[in-house]
Every structure is written in structure tokens, then in C-alpha cells.
């Protein structure tokens, strides 16, 4: 088996606060293989974005990586000096943010922003970089790229701007793209185009993609595997078909049950998970989900569940720890 493009091992991210360190990410592990799209879902504050930011080394103080390892194609990158990490950003790992309207510097032509990025990472002169900029715009589907290269960001629509952002992200052919809610700020019709674009780029270039979103539809359409995050931990991770159709973790079950279907009985109420996710300063003991879980038993309140393999899925839930249940019996 080849080395995964991104390998996150037992990652812990903490934010210093007046009342001590708040643990935003607590023991997250996952791999993304070449050409694979990993979807990361969860509620706001579950740690999805922070995981992405940690991977690209953009956690700002007071946050810091407090433990674990991040490996890029086998090379450890979480402890690299700032300058070495900067060279990796944009060249080997790219990141796309949520709002394309604010991701581009309004005072510079998009061509200049592309050329600047290209020349930072690739050994090209102005003319070559400009040609590449036009090619990139063509690749992400900007019409008349040789003219639009001289336009300013405000002269593009939201969807077109997100295409420009993607062109900037793939400028140096990165191995990994971290897309943090790339479609949330866009119209539904434009969302589909952007998703198709990301998917096509991943396929054509063998780029691994970490797709952070809270939109299960986007995940189901795009991802190969999906990780469900809850309160800074991965509750369940596995192939997207399995997790969507046969979720194991009670939280994942609730999440999937909350998606309305077109074919279902309209009179049937959607499943609702009672309560809300705990604040970082008040994460309950044991399984963080136990106060909201209808299956919780004593062990859930005392001991934190570690991931257990069930088929192709991994689930962090005591319900599936049959070995433990049997030995106790």
C-alpha cells in the first residue's frame, strides 16, 4: 500500500484561554490517499475547520498544535520551521476558504495574484507565469481567460470568483487541497458546478482533497470516504456509501436521519438530536456525546471510546465494543 498523501496521527489542538487550555481537537487520526476525496462533516464548532487549518499550518495563536503528528507523503510537517512550512503551503498543500467574495485581494488584478503565486513556488519568468495563469483560468472554466486575466475580483460573480480561488489553489499543482466549506456561500446551482470542478481536478491531477462541509449532499456526491466529527473527535469514519446508508455511531445516525428525502413519507418527522454540542470548556467526561445519546450506558459516562473497526468503517462508540462486552459478561 502506498504512503497516504496526508496522514494525521492523534492530533491535538489547544487554544489558550484565561481559564486554561481549551482542547478544540482531541486525538484525531485519519489518512487521505492520492486522488481520494475525504469529506469531513459535523456541526459548527466540531473542529472540522481547525483540523484543516492544522494540516496547512495556519493555526494562529492563541491556538497551537499540542500533540500528535501530521505527515505529508510520509514527511512530518507539523514541527517544521515557519519558513519551510511556508514553502509547502500553496505548493504542496493548498487551501480554499468559504467565502470567495472576500478571499481575493480587491486591489490587485487576478492575473497579478496568480502570477505572484506561481512565481513564488515555480521557477518561471513573468511571461511563462502569465501564460500559466491564463491556462489555469481556462482549466477552472473561466470564459475568455486571456481577457479575464486582467480583470479585478469585483468584476466576477461569486461562482466565478470561487473558480479563480481554485485556480490560485492549484497554481503549483499541490498534492493536497483542503477545501473549507467551498460551496456554502454560493447559490445551489453554482454549488454543483464548483463541486464538479473540484472533483474533476482531483481526478485529473490525482490530487487528494479534504472537503470540509456541513452539507451531507455535497459529501455524498463528491467524497470517497467521510469522517463525522463531534466535539473535536472523529465519531465515525468510513466509505461514504456505508456511512450514509448504514451509519453506526448514534450521532452519525442522528445526522443522517435529519436529512430530508424526496421519496420518503412527507408526514414523517425528521429525526432530531436533542440538546446541542457542548462548549469546549464543558466537554462531559467519557464520550462527549453521552448527554445527547439515547443509547448511553454507564461506560459512556466514564470512559472515552476509542475507534473500533466495524467492516470498512471505524466508529468511536462503546456500543460496538463486543469484545469488551463479552469479557465483562
Amino acid at each position: 500500500m502506498s504512503v497516504p498523501v496526508l496522514s494525521v496521527r492523534n492530533l491535538r489542538v489547544e487554544f489558550a484561554s484565561r481559564r486554561g487550555a481549551l482542547r478544540a481537537i482531541d486525538g484525531v487520526s485519519f489518512d487521505i490517499a492520492k486522488g481520494e476525496v475525504l469529506g469531513v462533516v459535523g456541526e459548527s464548532g466540531a473542529g472540522k475547520s481547525v483540523t484543516g487549518l492544522a494540516a496547512i499550518g495556519l493555526i494562529d495563536p492563541p491556538g497551537r498544535i499540542a500533540g500528535g503528528e501530521i505527515l505529508l507523503s510520509g514527511l512530518r510537517i507539523d514541527n517544521l520551521p515557519a519558513e519551510a512550512m511556508r514553502r509547502i503551503r500553496g505548493k504542496r498543500i493548498a487551501m480554499i476558504f468559504q467565502d470567495p467574495l472576500t478571499s481575493l485581494n480587491p486591489l490587485y488584478r487576478i492575473g497579478d495574484q496568480l502570477v505572484e503565486t506561481i512565481r513564488t513556488h515555480l521557477n518561471m519568468n513573468e511571461t511563462q507565469a502569465r501564460k500559466r495563469a491564463v491556462d489555469l483560468l481556462a482549466e477552472v472554466g473561466i470564459p475568455a481567460p486571456d481577457k479575464r486575466v486582467d480583470a479585478y475580483p469585483h468584476e466576477f460573480s461569486g461562482g466565478m470568483r470561487q473558480r479563480v480561488v481554485i485556480a490560485l489553489a492549484i497554481a503549483a499543482e499541490p498534492e493536497l487541497i483542503i477545501a473549507d466549506e467551498p460551496t456554502t456561500a454560493l447559490d445551489v446551482s453554482v454549488q454543483a458546478q464548483i463541486i464538479a470542478l473540484i472533483k474533476r481536478l482531483g481526478r485529473d491531477h490525482g490530487t487528494a482533497v479534504m472537503l470540509v462541509t456541513h452539507d451531507m449532499g455535497v459529501i455524498a456526491e463528491t467524497s470517497d470516504r467521510v469522517a463525522v466529527m463531534y466535539s473535536g473527535r472523529i465519531a465515525e469514519i468510513g466509505p461514504v456509501r456505508d456511512v450514509v446508508q448504514n451509519p453506526l455511531h448514534p450521532y452519525a445516525k442522528g445526522l443522517m436521519g435529519a436529512i430530508p428525502t424526496l421519496t420518503g413519507d412527507a408526514s414523517q418527522r425528521l429525526v432530531q438530536i436533542p440538546g446541542s454540542m457542548p462548549r469546549l470548556s464543558a466537554i462531559p467526561q467519557g464520550c462527549a456525546f453521552n448527554p445527547r445519546c439515547s443509547f448511553a450506558f454507564d461506560r459512556c459516562r466514564a470512559e472515552r471510546p476509542e475507534p473500533i473497526a466495524v467492516g470498512a468503517q471505524q466508529v468511536a462508540c462503546h456500543l460496538y465494543d463486543h469484545a469488551h462486552a463479552e469479557s465483562a459478561a
Binding site: 495556519l58 511556508r86 500553496g90 478571499s103 485581494n105 486591489l107 505572484e116 490560485l168
Partner: protein, 326 residues
């Protein structure tokens, strides 16, 4: 673009007409100028003669029209106290004020922007905190007090710099400059520091606040995610966005520097328009006061116009709105 400049120029002319009306009304409401010009023992007949020779008997609209037509040609009448044309007096004093104001603004801009950038990028460093604290003093201390403190320190105690006047000046046509002589430069230091200090601290605090704001924006985060060098991010992307609002403030500040110069010029006995104005106020020399008002307004309006044009040069979004008039 041309239409925009023309529209703004027309607006500026409107402002100037309004100021002209205010300047003119000063003649009507600030006492009888004849009393200022004549001696106590002048006979009523002589007074009437003076009044008629100054055109003060004509109807108000006629007087205003005359004043306006003259003002457009920079003829502001004769000073009551000096018995000289006001325009000649202003022309003689203007180089001193403009040199002082420009020098103060350059000091304020250069140091203000540099210190602002520094205290934004190293906001937790000791020196940046010192700058923040000291800048509060700069903002709150009145100009005349700073001037007097500087005079006490550098002129009285240390004796390094002259305490008043402009030093030796060199003449270029009607323009006089103190920039080319040692004594002129030495004389310029304290007044321009005094005058520029407030603007400098203001610009520093503005640049700092704006830059911190810009550094939090998404496009800076995205620039970092693209792996650009810190220098390119700070001085290419962040600084340019920071300077957009700074241009407006700095432009308007140049106007108020000229206005503030009244105090500084008084403290340092600087032979500029401000000092002339203060003398005019003491002697109710209305032609000078009115002309000063018009000249300062003209400078303000011109700077505003330049700032508006500069804005569109820096920010492409404004060019778009201008070319697509509502």
C-alpha cells in the same frame, strides 16, 4: 472618469461660492471698517468720503458681486492695518506657511506610517506598546504646549535651535524658501515637528488599526495559504489595502495642518499666513480674515478633489462605480 472629475470640480466650485458668501458677510457684521481705518478726530465728512471710496455705500448685492468678481481674480481688497493689497500680503506670507505645512505633513506621513506598520506587525512588542502610550500624549497635548516645551528644551536650555523666525531665506521670483540655508532648515525643525506631531500620532494610530483589521481579512489568510512570503503579504497585500483610508485622512489633515499652523506660527513667530491672520483678528482687519478664509478653503477643496482622484487610482472598485453612474 472625466465626467467624475468634472462633477467633483463643479461641486468644489459650489463649495467655494458658499465660502465666498460667508467671507463677504464678515464685512457686513464685524463692525464698521471705517472706524478701524480712520483716526478718532476724523470729521464725519471725511468718514463719508472714505466710506464712498471703499464702495461701502452701494447696495449689498452690488458689493457682493464686486467682491466676488475681485476674489475670483485673487483681488481681496486693501488691508485696513497695512494699507497694502491683501493678495500681496498673502503672497508674501504663503511660502512660509506652505513650506511649514508640507514639511510637517511629510514628517507626519513618513513617521506615522512607519510607526503604524511597526506597531501593527509587532503589536505585542515592548516598543510598540511604548509607541501606543506615547502617541496618546501626542494626541492629547495641545500644540502650543508642545511648541513651548520644545522651545524651552532646544532653544533655551540647549541652545541648539532658534526659538523664533524663519532664518535666512532664498528668493525664487515671489517664492521664498528656507530649505536652502542652514539657518532656514534649523528654524524649520521645531515648528514642523510641533505642527506635525498631532497628525503623526493620528496617522500612526490609524495605520495600526487599519493594518490590524486588514491582517484579519480572508484575503490575507488566503495569501498565507498560498504560501506567499511574509514580506509580500505585509507590504504588498496588507499595506496597500491599509493605505486606502489613510489617503483620505492624510489629505484632509494637510488642510487642517494649514489651519492649525495659526497656533504654531504664533508660538514660533513664524512669518506665515497664520501669523498674519492672528494679527488681522486682533486689529479687526476683515479683508485679510476674509481672504485667509477663502485661501484656506480653496486649499481644502483642492486637496479633497485630489484625494477623490487618488482614491480611484488606488481602488479599482471605485473606478467601476464611477464608470457606471447611478
Amino acid at each position: 472618469m472625466l465626467a467624475f472629475i468634472l462633477r467633483r470640480a463643479l461641486q468644489s466650485i459650489g463649495v467655494m461660492i458658499a465660502v465666498g458668501i460667508i467671507a463677504f458677510t464678515m464685512f457686513r457684521f464685524a463692525g464698521d471698517p471705517v472706524n478701524q481705518m480712520v483716526a478718532i478726530d476724523t470729521t464725519p465728512a471725511q468718514r463719508a468720503e472714505v466710506r464712498a471710496s471703499l464702495g461701502l455705500d452701494d447696495p449689498v448685492p452690488v458689493q457682493f458681486a464686486r467682491y466676488f468678481i475681485n476674489a475670483v481674480q485673487f483681488k481681496f481688497g486693501v488691508s485696513y492695518q497695512f494699507r497694502q493689497p491683501v493678495s500681496a500680503l498673502l503672497k508674501e506670507r504663503m511660502p512660509a506657511t506652505l513650506e511649514l505645512a508640507t514639511c510637517a505633513t511629510v514628517i507626519a506621513m513618513v513617521f506615522g506610517i512607519l510607526m503604524g506598520i511597526y506597531s501593527a506587525l509587532r503589536k505585542d512588542s515592548f516598543f510598540a506598546k511604548v509607541l501606543q502610550a506615547v502617541s496618546l500624549i501626542g494626541i492629547s497635548l495641545p500644540t502650543f504646549l508642545i511648541g513651548i516645551l520644545l522651545i524651552y528644551l532646544f532653544a533655551v536650555t540647549l541652545g541648539w535651535l532658534p526659538s523664533f523666525g524663519r532664518g535666512d531665506v532664498v528668493k525664487f521670483g515671489w517664492w521664498t524658501t528656507g530649505l536652502l540655508t542652514i539657518s532656514g532648515l534649523k528654524a524649520l525643525i521645531m515648528p514642523s515637528v510641533t505642527l506635525g506631531l498631532f497628525q503623526m500620532t493620528l496617522i500612526m494610530r490609524l495605520v495600526r488599526a487599519e493594518m490590524l483589521e486588514v491582517l484579519r481579512t480572508d484575503y490575507i489568510r488566503f495569501a498565507r495559504a498560498r504560501g506567499l512570503t511574509t514580506r509580500a503579504i505585509h507590504f504588498g497585500h496588507a499595506l496597500k489595502n491599509t493605505l486606502v483610508p489613510v489617503i483620505t485622512v492624510a489629505g484632509l489633515q494637510f488642510g487642517s495642518v494649514i489651519a492649525f499652523a495659526i497656533i504654531t506660527e504664533t508660538v514660533f513667530q513664524w512669518p506665515g499666513m497664520g501669523l498674519l491672520f492672528v494679527q488681522a483678528v486682533q486689529n479687526v482687519d476683515i479683508p485679510i480674515m476674509a481672504a485667509y478664509l477663502l485661501v484656506v478653503s480653496l486649499i481644502f477643496v483642492t486637496i479633497n478633489l485630489i484625494v477623490d482622484i487618488l482614491y480611484t487610482v488606488v481602488d479599482p472598485r471605485l473606478r467601476a462605480t464611477i464608470n457606471r453612474p447611478a
